[in-house]
């Protein structure tokens, strides 16, 4: 199962990186989202994989490592804020520049719409 998990992380990283390397803003936002899934899963894995041992104190004597979980929890929320910021940035860029390219255009299109 550890192998499958690692394969998942690897596939998510690959897909995320490929999307990040595109030239338009929206696929990059998707790529960032995908990468944050991968990073969260990776960080989570540093507490190792455990089944049915949630860190809710009870009669059990073995629990999943709660520390990576706490870190990942805040990472998910911050990741959302980052995704939101980048997507709003791309909306703003499209509104100001008239296109959604991420590369600097040689014939700068600022003000074309005026």
């Amino acid at each position: 199962m550890e192998l499958l998990y690692s394969v998942c992380v690897g596939v998510l990283v690959s897909c995320g990186v490929f999307l990040i390397l595109r030239a338009r803003s929206f696929p990059i936002v998707l790529g960032l989202t995908m990468l944050s899934y991968a990073v969260n899963l990776f960080l989570f894995a540093s507490g190792r994989l455990t089944i049915n041992k949630a860190a809710i104190l009870s009669a059990n004597d073995q629990y999943a490592d709660p520390l990576p979980q706490a870190l990942v929890l805040t990472a998910i929320v911050i990741g959302f804020a980052m995704t939101a910021f980048s997507v709003i940035l791309s909306i703003r860029a499209r509104a100001d520049l008239g296109n959604d390219y991420v590369n600097q255009q040689t014939n700068n299109k600022i003000g074309v719409k005026k």
Binding site: L4, Y5, S6, V11, L21, L30, I56, A70, K113
Partner: protein
């Protein structure tokens, strides 16, 4: 008085001087003189102890780990330099008061001069190498300020920049050298370094260290081939030149060689580098000086030549040579400073320094002329003057040199030749300026200088004469102390005398004087010959080199930074890929020792769905809507994975974030193109695929290596203390709100800032709103479907109830502020979707900015609250209460903190989505072509 007071007093003096704008010129000069005079008294007070052979220390422990301390020392060498710096410094301050015209700012000059003085004192008195280097750099910076004092002149700016570049680059080399030296010895304290000479010389790093430190010394002391900055630094006001380029700054390099003499000298490589550099500089400077028509130019090259002489002496393998070097440091400082000052007077009273115009000044300024002539005679090495004594010692020591093997006889011959040129240019200085007919169209009618302007020169000339006639009486003690500090062994027996009988050095002196006079009388032919030579100026090479480097850098930057985000990203990722991937090849085995979990059906299906979703997102990434749906499958599967692997809190968070994210991205697609055109070439797609696959393989492998190895975690602490210390059984939540509460406080603040940033970004947005979708279909006429509106309204109270439940139980069971906040936000967003933002804003009067602020404030005040009970920031408290109807209930202050988290999350999420959503609701969607300017 402690030693550190010496540089401290001059620092204070510098600060006071810079504030002296309202005082008269005499008062300003008097104020500026106070600090160096006090410092001089302190040094003199300590001098008897130093003359007795003691070394005084003053140590303040500072950065132990780095080996950097505030540490000062005063031995013979330090004392000698400190007296020169302070003594000549006082004279220069006095002189500058008369030299500077009324329109030049005296406080500015004095502030810089005293700053420079501090730096020099710091160098000579440091007992810590890093501290020494700091002051070394400070001399570069303060001399830059001094040389560019007349900052409106191009040549001043250029000269200052050149001096800064050369000495600054040398300073970096010096730093590297000192760091290696400190590593060899294991300490940066000078007393330890100087005592470890044998260790250093046997180290394999010795040659590198030596070259680096000598680079620092040679650049500062204007040794060949770095000498060319010094003549250009003559653009400084003459008092500055008299100070920096005779007595102090250029001597810092000499000081450095003398200081590290016990640690570095004594090897063949030292003697070869130092003596040959010195010899070359000596000859070159003496030769070029003769051809300079500018008085200061002549003095500049003469200084270069004399610095070469001292360097050569330090590179000769005899103890007496070292004594001669130190003696010449004193002598050169006195006669050269007085010559610069005399030049300043001539320049001041005639308006020019060109020797082709200046003639017959004897008639106009007899006093200045006499003083200058005595100093120039000292420079030439005429008997009864101090220059004669050290030059004679120099000649004597060159005779003992065995550096060049059987060709060692060349050294005394070349030394005599340099001596002859030195006599020649001194003769030119005297004859061309003060005699040689009548002046040729001077800008001013020349006359004698003000009485007091001559006082500093008189003092210096008196020293030249006294040392020249009664050397043993005056310099014996200080020379003895300084020499023993350099040589560290017992001081060699030396006797400075005017008359040693008829011997070789005397013959050399005589030859130099006759030769010099001969060269001067035949100068016309030499000048003609010199004029036919191609001029090879160091400055042009320097400037061309500088331009070349700048152009090269600009070209590389333009090539690299071409405005393409794709390129930056790929470079970044490729570098990370390389450095993260390379260590994997050193690993013996990827798989670890842990027992793996078996693969069951659920996991296989989940994995399949996740991979399929991820690949589908990539495959359909041009169909943006479809790829968005695909990526939401991935997000869903991630939260399922969290559920599966014992992380219910994460699963809940991921699920609710997923909902909010997808809503946000769908909203964004309204403003963005719905499709991505096909642009990338096949080769680029292939390249990106390769890089992406590489990243996946590397990260996946690391992940696999990580999860299959046993865990050694610090989490036992959290598990053991969650209930007893934090009062909750949900360890993850207790970590968030209690153990690591400070982190969480930071995180919700970041969340709030991101939301505010988004609010600002959407402000005044010139919207690009299409009236149809990308395929030309009009938007649905029914904006708010009835079914959705009805159901969502019914759901709202239920959803709020659920979020309250999740919030309250969060401390003990999966849930908490983050998740409850997201659930609440989702419920409200559903209302927005179903009813539109106008409908909501008529019913809800929330200002989301205030909500965010309230949330962060609650969390913060909850943290501060523990201070009231004398507990550290964010300490939590809990107890159990019997509440009627509810039963025994636990109340914890951490819940208030969690409430802050909850409110912030709700506020931030709503702010992001509602601000964007509101834009669509202003009026009917249509192509909005308003430009940015129209909104302002």
């Amino acid at each position: 008085m402690a030693l550190f007071w010496v540089p401290l007093i001059t620092t204070i003096g510098s600060l006071i001087s810079s504030r002296a704008a309202k005082l008269s010129r005499n008062e300003t000069a008097a104020v500026a003189l106070i600090a160096p005079l006090i410092a001089l008294v302190v040094c003199l007070y300590h001098s008897p102890a130093v003359f007795n052979g003691e070394t005084l220390y003053d140590h303040i422990q500072w950065l132990d780990v780095l080996g950097v301390h505030l540490s000062f020392r005063l031995d013979g060498l330090s004392l000698l330099f400190a007296l020169l710096i302070l003594g000549i410094g006082c004279l220069v301050i006095f002189y500058a008061r008369y030299y500077l015209s009324a329109k030049d700012s005296l406080p500015k000059l004095y502030a810089y001069l005293l700053l420079f003085m501090t730096a020099m004192l710091g160098i000579v008195m440091s007992n810590n190498m890093i501290q020494l280097w700091f002051f070394w750099e400070l001399t570069s910076i303060s001399s830059f300020l001094l040389i560019s004092y007349w900052s409106d002149k191009t040549e001043a700016r250029k000269g200052a920049l050149m001096a800064l570049t050369i000495t600054g680059a040398g300073g970096l080399a010096l730093l590297a050298g000192l760091l290696i030296l400190g590593n060899i010895v294991g300490s940066y304290q000078l007393d330890q370094v100087l005592a470890s000479g044998e260790l250093i010389k046997q180290s394999q790093w010795y040659e590198v260290t030596l070259v680096l430190i000598l680079l620092g010394a040679f650049t500062k002391s204007a040794q060949f081939p770095f000498h060319f900055w010094l003549p250009h630094a003559m653009a400084a006001p003459t008092p500055v030149s008299a100070y920096l380029h005779s007595a102090t700054m250029v001597k810092a390099g000499i000081f450095l060689m003398a200081r590290f003499y016990p640690a570095l000298a004594g090897t063949e490589i030292w003697f070869i580098i130092v003596s040959l550099t010195g010899l070359t500089t000596l000859l070159l400077g003496a030769y070029v000086a003769l051809f300079k028509h500018d008085l200061k130019g002549l003095l500049a090259y003469s200084t270069i030549s004399h610095l070469g002489l001292i360097t050569l002496l330090l590179g000769l393998d005899t103890e007496l040579a070292t004594v001669a070097a130190i003696f010449h440091i004193i002598n050169h400082a006195t006669f050269k400073a007085s010559l610069f000052m005399a030049t300043g007077i001539i320049d001041h009273e005639t308006g020019t320094r060109d020797m082709r115009k200046l003639n017959g000044m004897w008639k106009f300024m007899p006093f200045t002329a006499t003083l200058a002539m005595v100093s120039a005679a000292a420079m030439a090495g005429v008997p009864l003057l101090n220059g004669f004594l050290s030059k004679e010692m120099f000649f004597a020591e060159t005779l003992h040199a065995q550096l060049l093997g059987s060709m060692s006889w060349l050294i005394p011959v070349l030394a005599t030749l340099a001596g002859a040129f030195s006599v020649a240019y001194s003769a030119r200085f005297i004859h061309d300026v003060f005699f040689n007919g009548e002046p040729i169209d001077l800008p001013k009618q020349p006359h004698e200088a003000p009485r007091y302007m001559r006082v500093p020169i008189e003092v210096l000339v008196a020293i030249c004469l006294l040392v020249g006639m009664f050397p043993n009486l005056i310099v014996d003690e200080i020379l003895d102390a300084a020499s023993s500090a350099v040589l560290t062994t017992s001081t060699p027996v030396f006797e400075i005398a005017l008359w040693h009988g008829f011997n070789l050095p005397l013959l050399m002196s005589a030859l130099a004087v006759t030769g010099g006079v001969l060269i001067y009388t035949l100068r016309k032919h030499l000048f003609q010959f010199q004029a036919t030579l191609p001029s090879l100026e160091g400055r042009y090479i320097f400037e061309q080199g500088l331009e070349f480097i700048l152009a090269w850098c600009q070209k590389r930057i333009a090539q690299f930074e071409n405005g393409s985000l794709q390129r930056y990203t790929i470079v970044l990722i490729a570098v990370v890929l390389f450095f993260a991937g390379a260590p994997l090849f050193d690993m013996q085995k990827l798989v670890g020792e842990s027992e793996p979990h078996p693969i069951d059906m659920f996991n296989a299906v989940g994995t399949g769905l996740l991979i399929a979703g991820a690949l589908a997102t990539v495959i359909w990434h041009r169909q943006r809507m479809i790829s968005l749906i695909m990526i939401s499958i991935v997000g869903l599967m991630v939260s399922v994975a969290f559920t599966r692997f014992s992380a219910p809190d994460l699963a809940l968070t991921q699920l609710s974030v997923e909902v909010v994210t997808v809503v946000l991205l769908m909203l964004a697609l309204f403003f963005l193109p719905q499709k991505t055109p096909k642009e990338s070439t096949s080769i680029r797609v292939l390249r990106d695929l390769l890089i992406a696959t590489g990243c996946g393989v590397v990260v996946g492998s690391i992940c696999y290596a990580l999860v299959t190895r046993p865990l050694d975690s610090i989490s036992q602490f959290f598990v053991a203390n969650a209930k007893t210390g934090g009062g909750g059984t949900n360890v993850v939540n207790v970590i968030l709100v209690d153990f690591r509460g400070f982190d969480t406080l930071g995180e919700i603040t970041v969340l709030g800032i991101a939301a505010l940033g988004i609010y600002k970004l959407l402000n005044n947005l010139p919207l690009f709103m299409p009236s149809t979708d990308s395929e030309g279909r009009k938007w649905a006429r029914e904006k708010y479907p009835l079914l959705l509106a009805t159901i969502s309204q019914t759901l709202l109270p239920l959803a709020l109830l659920v979020s309250a439940f999740i919030f309250i139980r969060g401390h003990n069971l999966p849930g908490g502020g983050f998740i409850a906040g997201l659930v609440t936000a989702t419920a409200i967003i559903l209302q927005y979707i179903a009813h539109g933002s106008n409908w909501i804003s008529e019913r809800l009067f929330f200002n989301y900015r205030k909500i965010i602020a309230t949330g962060v404030m609650i969390a913060f005040i909850c943290g501060v609250g523990s201070l009231v009970f004398d507990k550290p920031f964010l300490t939590s408290w809990f107890d159990y209460f019997d509440i009627p109807l509810v039963g025994k209930t636990e109340l914890a202050s951490a819940m208030i903190f969690d409430l802050g988290v909850y409110i912030t999350v709700v506020g931030a999420t709503m702010m992001i989505l509602a601000s964007l959503g509101k834009l669509t609701a202003n009026d009917e969607p249509k192509a909005n072509t308003k430009s940015i300017g129209a909104n302002k």
